[in-house]
């Protein structure tokens, strides 16, 4: 399949994306459309005493002003988390019930308090400013650790464990304690991973349309998972049949996990449409996006490693505090879970003892963001490995080679219960080391030193778990012999239309131009899980393969009738259904057309040629484990704290490669996000819970000028858990990059006595760290 790279001339999507004919929610205008504006809490924590809507209602163009009281009066339900850790075998935990508008209390800045519907967007906004809300401020806590240790007041008074939702524990406490007691060396580090803004280029936005005649709702929304949105809104909020809601998610301008779960606005526009009899549109401004979007990451951790002088790692112990924000919202469980479960990484660790506390605070809710817990896990393990190597005076690469899981040990069950099916970790490390000219480092370091600069390097390994839940794909021939792919997955920049079309064209030997790709519409797609957690090529691709098989089986029935042969004697080869041992044949396209004739064999076989296929991932079946290595070299100016990335090599095992160009594009994008996390980005709040990074003037997104030249190599280690032998690729770059960058920086500055530096490693922070080290702080 590698040859697909040579044939690659661009994505099928590119024409519409590059010519401005993409179709995003804000491109859609429905007849008689009205607009929604939000009234958001300016307080991080307060009792909601009352809301006076009179003045707003009297403003020009205003159709309705709705509050939490109206939500209750109309019987709209609150939204629980999409699922809790318990579903994955974790603890029960306190699951918040979040109303779509707050009724008696606000718990973070940006909590939704009221909405205004008006003829124009500006009228709605102007009136929203006139909604008078009476707040009674409460004490605020923004740090997870402080919230547990008694600062602030409980956010959820009916939670018996205060601000703790649950504590997830993994591993073996006794075995770990014994290993620590027996180890030659133990060391402890404290790490902070700040909160990050998903910052999708297309902000969240939606249009709700209630059709009173049909008693049916249509939601146009920027979503990674239209069916998931529909289920939550039907079941929890509107309490209606799913068939009464249609969710359409057209082109989506970036999701990164932000759009994997619904936000209150998705339900609010539907309800507002029902109340006003008008389609209602809402598109987040950038400021609203920064304030109201779920965020990624946000973890504090105390981590320890125990090893012997010969480099054998014996155990890892860690306690983490995950800042859930005000709600346990959406798909917050995977990052919470994976941040612990993937700590063993590619190593055969004797024992682990891991605890993760999910803590409520007065900041925006946390949920999935590219990598979702895996970057945190990788950061902890890889930072510890480098610190341990320094402590015992061993080359950090040799330390890794000494502890990696051998290919012969596959399938391998980790100390946290993951079962890796495949992976050539040592091979990967050696290849990456060679590609980055590890041996030439001393000379380069000397050259840097001559310029007064410090050079540092790192080699890190990462592993990812990809492919959650099952998936369904469908193939449907049209009466004229053209083919439609009905995808349960959802592309929002990944290029699925290209890859799935290429696969099907290849399998069926039909021209790609005769294939149409359809996604993102609950009326057209029977069911789909959407796209996140690097699942689509494995689950979508495997389901597509099975759909193809089902389609061919049915086409053989037609061939058997037309060619007067036994089904068992018919083979499908290069677009033709052939009777074995004869020259009788029927093309697949001709067979398809026969299925649609108003008379003939279709009478007997049933009208229509379609095939559907299912593939299954976790839970219930094995996921896959993309993995890789990164080598990074940096130069640090010890006087100014200025940092440059001099070398960046990424080696990724993505299983069988479907489209190398798109794989590398995913790796590059992930590295950009990982670099943002390591060096530039942090969502910050002051002690009153006010967002202090609410615009791109303060929140630093990675730009082209920040990116190093990336040498990306793909290693094909076929995956054993799916018929396409593919692994995920979407999150890979984002997972290893923070650890690679920070380890390289640490390698440069460790000789000055620095033991730790927090992300983002800005110039100011690096300068301060070096100065503190110099002063012996």
């Amino acid at each position: 399949m590698n040859d697909l790279r040579d044939r690659f001339t661009g994505r099928l999507e590119d024409r519409r994306f590059l010519t401005g004919t993409g179709r995003y929610v804000d491109d859609i205008t429905l007849p008689h459309q009205a607009h929604m504006a939000l009234v958001l809490s300016p307080y991080a924590h307060a009792v909601l005493r009352g809301i006076d809507t009179a003045e707003a209602e009297a403003m020009p163009g205003v159709l309705a002003v709705l509050t939490g009281a109206d939500v209750l009066a109309d019987g709209l339900g609150p939204v629980p988390p999409f699922f809790m850790p318990k579903m994955w075998g974790g603890p029960e935990g306190y699951a918040t019930l979040r109303p779509i508008l707050c009724t008696d209390r606000v718990r973070c800045v940006g909590d939704r308090v009221a909405i205004v519907i008006a003829e124009t967007r500006d009228q709605a906004r102007l009136a929203a400013e006139m909604v008078a809300v009476d707040y009674d401020p409460l004490p605020v806590v923004t740090s997870a650790r402080a919230a547990l240790e008694g600062d602030g007041v409980p956010l959820w008074e009916d939670n018996p464990t205060g601000n703790l939702s649950c504590s997830l524990e993994m591993g073996d406490k006794a075995a770990t304690a014994a290993a620590f007691a027996a180890a030659d060396v133990t060391l402890h580090r404290h790490f902070l991973t700040p909160r990050l803004a998903p910052a999708s280029l297309e902000p969240r936005g939606c249009i709700g349309h209630y059709d009173a005649g049909e008693d049916r709702y249509t939601l146009h929304t920027s979503s990674q998972d239209p069916h998931g949105f529909r289920a939550v809104i039907a079941r929890n909020v509107l309490k209606c049949a799913e068939s009464r809601i249609r969710v359409i998610s057209p082109d989506v301008g970036g999701g990164f996990g932000l759009k994997a779960h619904m936000h209150p606005e998705d339900a609010l526009v539907l309800w507002a449409s029902r109340r006003t009899g008008r389609p209602v549109k809402w598109i987040a401004t950038r400021s609203e996006a920064m304030m109201t979007d779920t965020q990624g990451r946000g973890q504090e951790i105390e981590a320890e490693i125990a090893l012997n002088r010969d480099g054998k790692v014996l155990a890892v112990r860690a306690t983490a505090w995950t800042n859930m924000g005000a709600y346990f919202w959406g798909t917050a469980t995977p990052p919470f879970y994976f941040a612990m479960q993937l700590i063993p990484n590619v190593y055969d660790l004797g024992a682990v003892d891991l605890t993760n506390h999910a803590v409520f605070t007065n900041i925006a809710p946390m949920s999935v963001y590219r990598g979702a817990g895996r970057p945190e896990a990788t950061f902890v393990m890889e930072r510890l490995m480098d610190e341990a190597a320094a402590a015992i005076g061993m080359d950090p690469v040799e330390l890794r080679l000494k502890n990696v899981i051998a290919p012969e040990a596959m399938p391998f069950k980790t100390a946290t219960g993951m079962v890796y099916d495949s992976g050539e970790f040592a091979n990967m490390i050696r290849k990456a080391r060679a590609a980055a000219d590890w041996a030439g480092f001393p000379a380069r370091a000397e050259a840097s030193r001559a310029k007064g600069l410090l050079r540092g390097r790192s080699l890190i390994s990462y592993i990812e778990v990809a492919g959650v839940m099952n998936e369904r794909m469908e193939l449907r021939f049209e009466p004229d012999g053209t083919l439609t792919i009905l995808a349960g997955t959802h592309s929002h920049g990944q290029g699925h239309a290209t890859v799935f079309t290429e696969l099907v064209a290849d399998w069926l030997s039909i021209p790609a131009e005769s294939i149409r790709y359809v996604q993102g519409d609950t009326d057209r797609i029977l069911v789909g899980r959407g796209t996140f957690a690097a699942r689509s090529s494995m689950l979508g691709g495997s389901a597509l393969l099975r759909a193809k098989d089902a389609l061919i089986e049915r086409a053989k029935e037609m061939a058997a009738v037309v060619l007067q042969a036994e089904i068992a004697d018919i083979d499908f080869e290069q677009g033709m259904l052939k009777v074995r041992g004869s020259n009788k044949a029927l093309s697949l396209i001709e067979a398809a057309k026969l299925f649609y004739l108003p008379a003939g064999p279709a009478n007997l076989l049933g009208i229509g040629l379609t095939g559907a296929g299912t593939a299954a991932g976790k839970p219930g079946a094995a996921p896959n484990y993309p993995n890789g290595c990164m080598v990074c070299e940096v130069e640090v100016n010890p006087k100014t704290g200025a940092l440059t990335i001099e070398r960046f090599v990424a080696f990724d095992d993505v299983g069988r490669i479907l489209n190398a160009t798109l794989c590398e594009g995913q790796i590059h994008g992930g590295i950009a996000q990982g670099l943002g996390q390591a060096l530039l980005e942090a969502m910050t709040y002051d002690e009153d819970g006010q967002l202090t990074s609410g615009s791109f003037m303060d929140y630093c997104m990675p730009r082209a000028e920040h990116m190093p030249a990336v040498d990306s190599y793909l290693l094909e280690v076929p995956c054993a858990t799916n018929p396409l032998q593919v692994k995920g690729v979407g999150e890979s770059g984002a997972i290893g990059t923070p650890a690679a960058l920070v380890n390289a920086v640490m390698d440069a500055i460790r000789p000055l006595g620095v033991t730790s530096i927090d992300m983002p490693v800005t110039q100011a922070r690096l300068w301060q760290t070096l100065r503190d080290a110099e002063a012996g702080v």
Partner: protein, 266 residues
């Protein structure tokens, strides 16, 4: 954005009169600062007075001793101007570090100076070169112009018409851009004028742009290296932002002074 009216007067006196007649009026130049703040509802004028139709505020000219730039001149025009390149090339270099080309195509020098954002670049040139600010009613010396963050000596209805920059014997500007916004976390302009040295700092000061008089005096009396060694920045009141520790900002002033003086020597 709230509803507003917009007019484009052809005479300065009409612009001022319109300002005073209206309940809540604001002058509009490039709109690169004003329009975003209106969108964010931080400003809600009922009347916008577009200054782009006033001939006095246009044009760039070299009088021999100084360079006069109309307040309505857009950054892009300054960058393109042969007159600026000939008279004070360092001014064009400074302007080239402002924002991006889209913003430079709209933003004006007058709008920037009137707005007096503490992180803007231009105050370093105005103070560093000792410019004269020419308004519809008077001339204001640079040293009397800056009164604090977003505050200038301009009266409420006063219009900045042009800026007169004396030509330096040599000048250099160095900037540490904010990684997110591109504005100056600190920026230092050093200039050797006929009357002596001037050094101005933007971006860093707690009260906005200021002159580093201590360094000016040291440069006056001795070689550059000795002057840099001598000055003490530890007492400078700098802007307080968590992302930029005060000591780091003070340090930046020193580095940037060194960098710009280094460029002067070349």
């Amino acid at each position: 954005m709230n509803e507003f009216q917009i007019i484009r007067p052809a005479a300065l006196s009409d612009a001022v009169a319109a300002f005073n007649d209206a309940e809540e009026a604001m002058y509009l130049s490039g709109g690169m600062t004003l329009i975003p703040s209106m969108k964010a509802r931080l400003a809600a004028p009922q009347l916008l007075i577009d200054l782009s139709g006033l001939p006095e505020m246009q044009g760039i000219s070299d009088s021999g001793l100084s360079l006069r730039i109309g307040a309505m001149t857009r950054w892009a025009e300054i960058l393109r101007s042969d007159v600026v390149a000939g008279a004070i090339p360092e001014l064009a270099r400074l302007v080239g570090q402002i924002a991006d080309r889209h913003v430079r195509n709209r933003g004006t020098i007058g709008g920037s100076i009137a707005n007096n954002d503490p992180a803007a670049d231009c105050p370093a040139a105005v103070l560093g070169l000792g410019a004269t600010l020419i308004t519809d009613r008077r001339e204001i010396a640079a040293d009397d112009f800056y009164l604090g963050l977003f505050t200038t000596a301009l009266e409420e209805d006063e219009i900045l018409v042009a800026i007169d920059f004396p030509k330096p014997q040599a000048a250099a500007y160095a900037k540490h851009p904010h990684p997110a916004s591109g504005y100056a976390v600190a920026g230092v302009m050093v200039a050797r004028m006929a009357q002596g040295w001037r050094v101005a700092v933007t971006g860093a000061g707690a009260d906005g742009a200021f002159r580093l008089t201590e360094l000016e005096a040291a440069l006056q009396s001795g070689p550059v290296e000795a002057a840099l060694e001598k000055i003490d920045v530890s007492a400078i009141q700098v802007l307080n932002e968590p992302a930029f520790p005060a000591d780091f900002r003070r340090q930046l002033i020193l580095w940037l002074a060194r960098e710009s003086l280094g460029r002067l020597a070349v």
